[in-house]
């Protein structure tokens, strides 16, 4: 599939005659990255599907006001991260459960998930990741799975590179401790 630069996509989007087409190109170009980022946070496919659609609706509404101070890709990641965290917050408040309970729920949904094809060790790794605090979990996923640079993560999470490095280091250590158990 052909990749388009931010400028190409934005120019087409700002032209009323190719607005819908440009948005379609944008969704096609970024849907997988954004979906997997969300899926690793909310775990369940149906939840991820709802969140990813909300993200792109927000993108559609906000793209006119996109200032180009950052790259489109980091802007999309930022919206996706915020939407995922909001989703988890709503889930917590609607079922009156604590952070630990949500982590347990997510861990259980991993067991029942038809769309999880990992072996036992992969399941254990995901369970270890779910024990991390939400923001540390996001930092770990972005660095470990998405292999993003700290500078990009800093743009997305609006946190200093130093803080992100420390957060990732702690996350890796906690996961290692979890894997050592049993």
């Amino acid at each position: 599939m052909q990749e388009y630069t931010d400028q190409e996509l934005l120019t087409r989007f700002r032209d009323p005659s190719s607005r819908n087409y440009a948005f379609n190109l944008l969704v096609n170009q970024y849907q997988k990255k954004i979906y997997w980022h969300i899926r690793r946070i909310v775990i369940d496919h149906d939840d991820a599907n709802d969140v990813v659609q909300n993200v792109f609706i927000k993108v559609w509404r906000g793209l006119d006001n996109f200032k180009e101070d950052s790259r489109l890709y980091t802007w999309l990641y930022r919206i996706a991260t915020n939407e995922s965290l909001t989703f988890l917050k709503q889930k917590r408040s609607s079922s009156f459960v604590s952070f630990d309970d949500v982590a347990h729920q997510l861990s259980r949904s991993l067991e029942d998930d038809n769309y999880f094809k990992g072996d036992a060790i992969q399941k254990k790794l995901q369970q270890a990741i779910l024990t991390l605090p939400e923001k540390q979990r996001i930092v770990f996923n972005m660095k470990y799975f998405d292999e993003m640079k700290y500078e990009e993560m800093s743009e997305v999470l609006e946190t200093s590179v130093g803080a992100l490095k420390a957060s990732y280091h702690h996350a890796v250590k906690k996961i290692e401790e979890f894997l050592k158990k049993d």
Binding site: V27, Q31, K32, Y35, V52, Q53, Y115, H169, V172, K180
Partner: protein, 211 residues
């Protein structure tokens, strides 16, 4: 280097003979890479190496786990997602209009707004009914024209310049005018008056005193 160029030239010459159509095609790279791919390729590789080294050092168990995405999606999910997103965008646009209309029609806004509009309309109707048929300025203009055009009009200047004796004479001469009442006294029968006074036992001296 010269040998290499020589071989290339020979190959190109042969290509013209072996495949003339191919040799006429423009030689260009048909493949594309993501934007800025080569700009940060080196730093990405270095970052990966650093990350792998860090994990190996502080988390040997984690570093042994093969890194792959264990999650999956329903078949054809990403083929249909763009369409789903576009449908939802259209739906949201429609529902946002409906939401705006609903907001305007909500009882807490609509009832006071409607009451205010009705009150304003009623006030305007009442004001129109109670207002004079002619405006003050129109009335002033009418008075001025009456004063200046009417033959019966008596202006202040005319009254000031009129002789009192002439006025009285005019009134006496007008049979329709009855300002003194003397005629009635004169026309009344004196005998009838005397009879009336006697019948009512009126004291004549008191009448004289009164007069």
């Amino acid at each position: 280097m010269d040998d290499k160029n020589k071989i290339n030239d020979e190959l190109n010459d042969n290509l013209d003979e072996i495949a003339p159509r191919l040799s006429k095609l423009r030689k260009e790279e048909p493949f594309r890479v993501p934007a800025d791919y080569f700009d940060d390729l080196a730093s990405k590789i270095l970052s990966k190496c650093d990350n792998a080294d860090e994990i190996k050092e502080i988390a040997p168990l984690l570093s042994e786990i093969p890194k792959y995405n264990p999650f999956t999606v329903p078949g054809g999910y990403f083929d249909h997602l763009p369409l789903q997103v576009q449908e939802k965008c259209i739906e949201t646009r429609r529902s946002s209009w409906a939401a705006k209309l609903a907001w305007l029609l909500r009882p807490s806004f609509f009832i006071p707004a409607a009451a205010a509009v009705i009150a304003v309309v009623i006030a305007m109707v009442l004001m129109k009914e109670n207002s004079p048929l002619v405006s003050e300025s129109e009335m002033t203009a009418m008075n001025v024209s009456y004063d200046s055009n009417s033959t019966d009009a008596i202006t202040e200047d005319a009254l000031l310049g009129m002789d009192d004796a002439a006025v009285l004479e005019s009134l006496w001469s007008d049979p329709a005018t009855d300002i003194t009442g003397d005629d009635h006294y004169l026309s009344a029968n004196e005998e009838d008056i005397i009879d009336y006074l006697l019948d009512n036992n009126t004291d004549i001296s008191s009448i004289v005193t009164e007069l």
